[in-house]
Amino acid sequence: MFVARIAALTVATLCLASAVEAKTLRWASQGDALTMDPHSQNEGPTTAMNQHIYDPLIQRDPKLAKVPNLALSWKPIAPDTWEFKLRPDVKFSDGTPFTADDVVFSYNRALAPTSDFRAYISSVKEVKAIDPLTVHIITNGPNPILPDYTTSIMIMSKAWAEKNNVTKPQSYKDKEETFAVRNAMGTGPYMVKQRDPDVRTVMTKNPTYWGAKQFPDYPDELVYTPVKEPSTRVAALISGQVDFVLDAPLQDVARIKQTAGLKTEETAQVRSIFLGLDMGSAELKYSDVKGKNPFADKRVRQAMYQAIDMNAIKTKVMRNFAAPAGLVTSPGVHGYTPALDERQKFDVAAAKKLMADAGYPNGFGVTLDCPNDRYNNDEQICQAVAGMLAQIGIKVDLQARSKTLHFPKLQKKDSSFFLLGWGVPTLDSHYVFTFLYQTSDAAKKVGSWNFTGYSNAKLDELSDAMLKEVDQAKRDKMVADAWATVVADMPYLPLHHQLIVWAMSDKVTMPIFANDTPNFKYSKIK
């Protein structure tokens, strides 16, 4: 009986050897988009999904340069006003025309209290439609980098949003789910065909897409499946059940490269990993040094920096998928220079001497807080650092936790020594200064990720000034000065820039994006 059942099953499966449809690209990554509402969640996988359906005014190309999307051109026409000329003859996928009113509506929606993108455009005072193809964005004072921020703000149809009662981003106070959570309609290259959160999302080509001529070859259909377990994801790629994997585990990359029919694309990601030190407190909360703060002494910070053998971490822990860093920001960010990114020499003898000079010849004990599910090999990095610091007498008590515990702990400023990573969505150094280096000030909304207690009036001034400076040369000088200041002050010990690896079938052509956000309109599949 049982044998008969097995036999029947085998025959059934034999007959139905799946025929692959032409021009469908199947891809997988670890987690699904949280929502299709384009203004509700500022989160990587959510943005990666939604940018295929919704367009911004300006988009990032694979080199992360700003290229025209719904806006054809943009220029400042007054110190506080940017003018955007919109692309003519654009239609939403339901056939209705796209106009300046949709831009005004979408920006106001993104400014609503329930929007998760408010911070990006908090400088916006008003958005005005001058004519159907011209929009003015008026800011509170000059904002030279507004175009960079517009790359994150997606444009919805005003009529569609009003019809479906989603004129505000979803809120957790709503009892029911809003229409926009699982439905989407935009001007982008794809339309949603099926949305089954956490299971499967199918998108088909938008027949009314304005860029059909510019992008003639992109796949007709995208099928996305989240696959949580890394080994299952790799198995699916190797066995040909998916064509593209966004986040192949680093330890499997060698295996993938060896497999016939598969290839990888690699690039430095716009995300840097570093250690933060509480240098501002009078006494460290988690240390055996009482009455004073060893991290307040620059010699101690310098010693720790020089005691870390980044090359060993790169080759042993990161399997070479890391670029050792001297700066907490990555190549590709405006203001980055290779000279600044040069690491200080690894030198244990010098580090020991610095420790002795600072009055800690025998070191001290401190707790290192580390996430274990946020960055590539994060916990292993911390373990390696703990071993290296032991060489100069610093006894590290490593506390590795899930990100749901790690970040709230940091935000309560309840850590003396921690690992953190930082990406820069705007690709401008100001983003780094304002969140990581400016004196933490809740009222001014600056320094919200500065958990080091670092405070330097000169840096604060430079950071505030570069936000408003429209003269590019003057502004670049400010950025360079600010970097020189913080590199000298050393509140963070830089470790490396993450490298990202995208794994895919030979049939797929796909340029890699350093922000780890694939845009499949640039892809091709044979």
Binding site: M1, F2, R5, L9, T10, A12, T13, L14, L16, A17, S18, G31, L34, T35, Q41, N42, E43, D116, A119, Y120, Q170, Y172, K173, K175, E177, V181, R182, D196, P197, D198, V199, R200, T225, P226, V227, K228, E229, S231, T232, R233, A235, A236, I238, S239, G240, Q241, D373, R401, S402, K403, T404, L405, F407, P408, Q411, F435, A442, K445, S448, W449
Partner: protein
Amino acid sequence: MLAFIVSRLLQSLAVMLAVSFLCFVLFNFVGDPVNNMVGQEASASDREEMRRDLGLEDSVAVQFARFLGNAVTGNFGKSYRLARPVSDLIVERMPATLELVAVAALLALSMGIPLGVLTALRRHSVDSGAIMTFSLAGVAMPTFVIGILLIYVFSVECISWAPAIGLPAGWCFPSFGRGETVKLGWWNTGLLTASGLKAIVLPAFTLSLFQMTLVLRLVRSQMLEVLRTDYIKFARARGLTDRAVHFRHALKNTLLPVITVIGIQIGGLIAFSIITETVFQWPGMGQLFIQSVQFADIPVMAAYLVMVSFIFVAINFFVDLLYATIDPRLRLDRAQLGTAGG
């Protein structure tokens, strides 16, 4: 009997209350969901406001009371992660888990019983020895190892070995997902499509292996015991064929305890399915739960745990009732105890 049922019901209710309260205490250790719910640019005051809106600032007791109040009316709140009502999510995921569990249980029985009988009847043969060794592996190997091993052999390496032995490459099994599904009302079934049937083979086998070996060993030991009893000897003396003795007389009498154990193990299957579902990206409740834990999605975790404890409590309740019906001594004892105690 009525008093027995009522007292059992009250006990079940108390167990469920205790379980859900324990869950709520534990939720304090899974971390803060707010960090996952807002972008890194959100200010401290935004985060605080959201925490207040969600009621996370309240004490455990207040949060628990609020949860109970809502749960009684069937409202489990909205998922922090997916912004959708929790009851919708659970209803969507339930068919996947129940189908997986049902197929796994079927596999466990349809392979465990015949193999158990075989090993009991042919105790000293080589094939029984092989089966018993295999069953040890089934008991001892963790589910995720079995799952990954099966994926490796039957979906990754399969591409090279299947054509070599004359099977088409399409014969290999998918390593993840549920295949195509068909909607029957609200029930989303994968058992009616070829790709769905194919997709369930590896996960169901993985999930069933432990139960299968359990059934196998149970049937074998029961069978060996029954074969030694007088009525079997008498049946043989009557000159009945081996077939009649083994299957009509012996096997029938071994099955009762097996069915009881399997009934209780169904709850275990649902719990074990968390791991199987994660390995095979099976879109069931177990996977929903794991994702919720990683996100600290408290409403989903609470609803899932309450539901699983409900399943366990319900199964135990019915088993108790069944015992009381089958075994009159239970009722008698209680009645006597009742009068003795006044």
